[in-house]
Symmetry: D2
Subunit: 226 residues, 4 copies
């Protein structure tokens, strides 16, 4: 499965504003913005909410993480088969808040390929992004941890580092989709991110904590079509 770029991935994290019934509502707003504009919007709810979100909307649903395991003895872990059965078509991997060993990242990328899931691996700086890209996931997402949740967008605060990331990643992988995230909160941040050579954004609090989630989603979606 290949998602059409540009891509906006909305990470629901573990905010109460995106838990349970509110996860479904947020996903429906994302679907509305996507349908109205033709923009690709992916939603990544908590594990417990994947099934009801996937049932409620037709836009792509990602898990926030999966574990590098086979079915069996793995109490408390996240099974690729289970999130897929619940309706997810891809997963975040190695988010700054759920960091993994490099051997686990490689094993999960391999597992997603085997199961037909889309892999989006996050990394914290240009060099780590290059390391990730060399392992050939579908998507690499650059997120400097110090900007996460600040409202100061990486694309505006560190344009040179975004460009460096794109360049370093392209040296080792000409095909991977490149996103950036952290602090993305205005439609202009999305526009700038695309101008800097990325194919989209990973966003969380900028959407989830917004008073009017739909309006921001719609503005982000419009920005990908400029």
């Amino acid at each position: 499965m290949k998602l059409q770029t540009p891509i906006i991935i909305v990470n629901f994290k573990t905010y109460l504003e995106s838990t349970g019934q509110k996860a479904v509502e947020l996903a429906k707003n994302a679907e509305k913005a996507s349908k109205e504009t033709g923009a690709t919007i992916v939603v990544a709810p908590q594990f417990v909410d994947i099934a009801r979100v996937a049932e409620a909307v037709e836009i792509p649903v990602f898990a926030q993480h999966i574990d590098p395991i086979k079915p069996g003895n793995s109490t408390g872990h996240i099974l690729a088969e289970a999130v897929k059965e619940a309706g997810a078509i891809g997963t975040l991997i190695n988010h700054a808040e759920r960091q993994l060993k490099i051997s686990e990242i490689e094993a999960i990328i391999s597992l997603t390929r085997e199961k037909g899931l889309v892999s989006c691996v996050c990394a914290n700086n240009p060099t780590t992004c290059a390391g990730v890209a060399a392992m050939r996931p579908d998507i690499v997402s650059f997120e400097p941890p110090e900007l996460i949740g600040t409202g100061i967008a990486v694309s505006k605060a560190q344009p040179q580092i975004v460009t460096d990331t794109v360049n370093l990643v392209r040296k080792v992988n000409s095909e991977v989709t490149i996103l950036c995230g952290a602090g993305v909160s205005q439609s202009e941040d999305v526009f700038v991110a695309l101008k800097l050579g990325t194919q989209g954004v990973l966003v969380a609090s900028g959407i989830v904590k917004a008073k009017d989630q739909y309006s921001i989603l719609r503005a982000f979606a419009d920005a990908t079509k400029q």
Copy 2:
């Protein structure tokens, strides 16, 4: 919330035989055995299946793990509020396959108390069980890792260690419910576990991988009523 003892907790782990629609079927069989006998049977499905299982049955549903976090920036983690909203009334903690730092165990026990969830902390030997019990969870479950999944029941293979565990735990905590697990696969194992001073069992493959899940569940339930 206080569960009536004896208790049988069925840990669905990440077996395909207890994923998705099969999780719902297994939970329904557990509910049937529980209703017919009056025995307390708890089901612990994967996170993605909690909501549909909780919707399908009236017996208690546990998560297999929760994280010691507050709502917010915790991508890929398990939020107490989210599993509760999905219908879980308790959680396993520190299963041998999902071991935790001691400070995390204490924080999760405290969190479950705050959120009105039942805490069941697993531990690998009598001394660790005593350590866990001193932190005052609702339930302690003794599971020697070397017997997990073997079909050789701890209650039959290591009766003295089960007795030692009960004694050590009672020295530091007179109220905690004590379960044992690992290898439990026959109704006699349940009967012996209770005779040794425990208040129930934690079981996984013995039920999940059984050809006739209902029959074993019913035999286990009957054993708690002897």
Copy 3:
């Protein structure tokens, strides 16, 4: 081996002021203060410095951590036999900066007993201290992480919590030595800690970062003799 109480343990952490040759000097100052006063002072240098510190002084030397491993395939880990051969007679376990799974803590306590090493397990609050104490180490050290390195002593800032810790620990273990730490920087902090029912302190920056390490060590040693 049993250390005479009260005990002052000086944790060298990874400060440059207590690395290499400076570790030896600090240990010599601790030895001087100990010999002059008769107070028990233990030094816990970095792994690479254990051998030269143990060669230079006669006071007890602890490792800052050991791993729950047997000799063999454990690249990059800390072997009990190796730190003992280098001259350590005990070890810190589960320091707030090196937290462990509860099964690891139990395994390390068991290993120290087998190898004749003194075990000092740290924990972050009264309940966790009780959990640790129930696993029967030689020493429990209560350290609230939020005060570590602040210069605000736990014994002065949270006297009630120190008393609670002593009470909770004593309910499950009448013999374990109880220390407290975090922010300890003045001799009065040591004095108050002992008055609250502990048998000593665990101190780091209060000594290591002091301009005159010897003077503070001597004042601490004197405080244990009041």
Copy 4:
């Protein structure tokens, strides 16, 4: 600092046969073989043995791991400055027995560069090796975990995978030194490894557990000169 290729790195792990005084003897044998043949032999003893080994021999000494930390509050961790002060000139990173998050690997590589230490990052398969190589360490070492300690050399058992690794690594990094390891126990294994395009081997039990450590070391050294 740049080591002359081919390189033999002897990982002492935590074997008793390479602990304490025996670590010094093994290092002296390695030095003898190195001086007699001109081959580059690096020794990687346990942390507690670095100082005495570095004092006893003139060949390069590596740590088995360092942590991505600055001096300060990191009890129980491995400080680059401390291992360097003790005499190490480089370090293994991410050994199969001490695996790290990708962000940690990147941070440690960066730290070694800053401190003038040689970085040797281990990885478990060709893809992970490419990921590591893209982060530009000095050395990448390919070690399939399933062969570690078996005496079945990767270079003999999986020649195609060694070649694949060399090819994948070279696509993203033309300069990095490539080693292979796991099961290396005969001089022929070293010879084959070099023929397959690597610049040396990482070896542990093949040397450490040998009855005559010097003879094997000498044979390995000779094999690098054929």
